[in-house]
């Protein structure tokens, strides 16, 4: 399974490196989203700073949708999905490989977005451990859930519009938890019980979707 996952992730990342969709389209999109938020909330920079955590994770969520759509659009062209099904690869390995590739792209985009909130919103990125732990858990959760719903919508003609409709409500707990955890770390929200409960929720979400994907991806790939 791990060998298959590495093979699929390597293939997806090589396609991405060559097509440069993430670097030339998704990354500029992410920056534009941050800039638009700044326009919408300006001139009150205080509000921008307080809302930075939520705006960051909304932007990450939009980027995740684009990354997942791209991940499955390459399988839709010229019967590639049939090739993948005929390949003999373990479906769980395919799931982990595709989710892993999406997660790596999200990590790069999160780094860009983090730089963006520092420069555009004047946010001071304190609480590095919590920020990184939140990013890790939320990224895995978004990549796993996105891959599950990506394959569900992949075989449909309306996949471009269906995926956001499926994924956005499902990812709401990630958005909420990651935002709250970041607010605690940045000191821009109510401290409450700290970041712990939100981090636990993110980890649970990630574990549930990784486990579900490993078990169900084969059936979803067949039905799509």
């Amino acid at each position: 399974m791990l060998r298959d996952a590495l093979l699929v992730a390597g293939k997806d990342l090589r396609i991405e490196r060559r097509s440069r969709v993430t670097t030339n389209q998704v990354a500029p999109f992410a920056v534009v989203v941050l800039v638009l938020f700044a326009f919408a909330l300006d001139p009150d920079r205080g509000l921008l700073t307080r809302a930075a955590a939520g705006l960051f994770w909304v932007a990450v969520l939009f980027c995740a949708i684009l990354a997942v759509q791209r991940s499955f659009s390459v399988e839709s062209a010229d019967g590639a999905r049939d090739g993948l099904r005929l390949s003999g690869l373990d479906p769980a390995g395919i799931f982990l490989g595709k989710a892993g590739a999406v997660a790596l792209q999200l990590v790069a985009l999160e780094a860009l977005l983090a730089a963006g909130v520092v420069l555009l919103y004047g946010t001071d990125l304190r609480g590095g451990v919590v920020l990184l732990a939140t990013c890790a858990a939320a990224t895995i959760g978004l990549a796993a859930s996105g891959t599950v719903y990506g394959v569900l919508s992949a075989g449909l003609r309306v996949r471009e519009t269906l995926l956001p409709l499926l994924l956005l409500p499902v990812a709401a707990p990630v958005l909420l938890s990651a935002t709250r955890a970041w607010e605690v770390a940045l000191g821009t929200g109510g401290a409450g019980d700290g970041a712990g409960p939100w981090l636990r929720l993110l980890v649970i979400f990630a574990v549930v979707y990784v486990a579900f994907g490993v078990v169900a991806f084969g059936a979803l790939l067949e039905e799509a």
């Binding site: 093979l7 396609i15 062209a77 049939d82 005929l86 003999g88």
Partner: protein, 234 residues
């Protein structure tokens, strides 16, 4: 002789439409069988069902000893399907597409590189074409790359859907040579084609489909006829 394919009253639905409406179809191991019939007869669906891609919802279906009603994924590693779509990744090079398919099918065996390189050379895809992304290839070169994947995977069952389409004369000859070499190596081949002359030259037997059923299935003993001389022409 052992059967590579055994279908009995097999039904495949596309939506609610029975694309295969109770097919009886036998192919002995090592045979080369031509499936003929008009558009919409069910030839492509039959090949996809044999590959385990289209689910058989009623009847019996066994391919290479695997019961497709129980588990249609198990047979896929032993099968290659060259269909209308090439199943290639546009942003990977010719060599990367072949290497990915071979590693997926066989794991990282030691002869990955040599096997893939040899196939690319035989199909005229070595040299400058080897490192060209598939998106930049002509339709014929894409078909050759898809054929290279079939060859490099060394499947036990070749399923070829209009395999000569889009190939130039040299490509067609290479395809025919590849099929004959595969059969000589013990593989079984089922091909659907409207190009009767070429396909019949490869086939040991021909069957006819219409309306989602195999209407004319000559006895398998015909498979013993000399290659290149089809025993039955539907």
């Amino acid at each position: 002789m052992a059967l590579a394919i055994r279908f009995r009253s097999a039904v495949v639905l596309l939506g609610r439409f029975p694309a295969l409406a109770g097919v009886d179809f036998d192919v002995a191991a090592g045979e080369t069988v031509l499936v003929q019939g008009p558009n919409g007869a069910g030839k492509t669906t039959l090949l996809r069902a044999c590959a385990g891609l289209a689910p058989v919802v009623a009847g019996e279906a066994e391919v290479l000893g695997h019961d497709l009603r129980d588990d249609r994924r198990a047979v896929r590693r032993q099968v290659a399907l060259l269909g209308h779509a090439t199943q290639l990744y546009d942003d990977l090079t010719v060599a990367e597409n072949v290497r990915f398919a071979v590693r997926a099918a066989r794991g990282r065996s030691r002869d990955d590189g040599d096997g893939a390189a040899g196939v690319l050379e035989r199909l005229g895809l070595d040299g400058r074409l080897r490192d060209v992304t598939v998106a930049r290839l002509s339709a014929g070169q894409r078909r050759r790359t898809a054929l290279a994947i079939c060859m490099a995977r060394r499947p036990e069952l070749w399923l070829l859907d209009e395999p000569h389409a889009g190939l130039d004369a040299q490509g067609r000859d290479l395809l025919d040579d590849a099929v004959r070499a595969a059969v000589a190596g013990g593989a079984t081949v089922v091909l659907a084609s409207h190009e009767a002359d070429r396909a019949l030259a490869l086939a040991t037997r021909a069957v006819t489909m219409a309306g989602g059923q195999v209407h004319h299935q000559p006895d398998r003993r015909a498979a013993s006829a000399p290659r290149g001389e089809p025993a039955h022409v539907a």
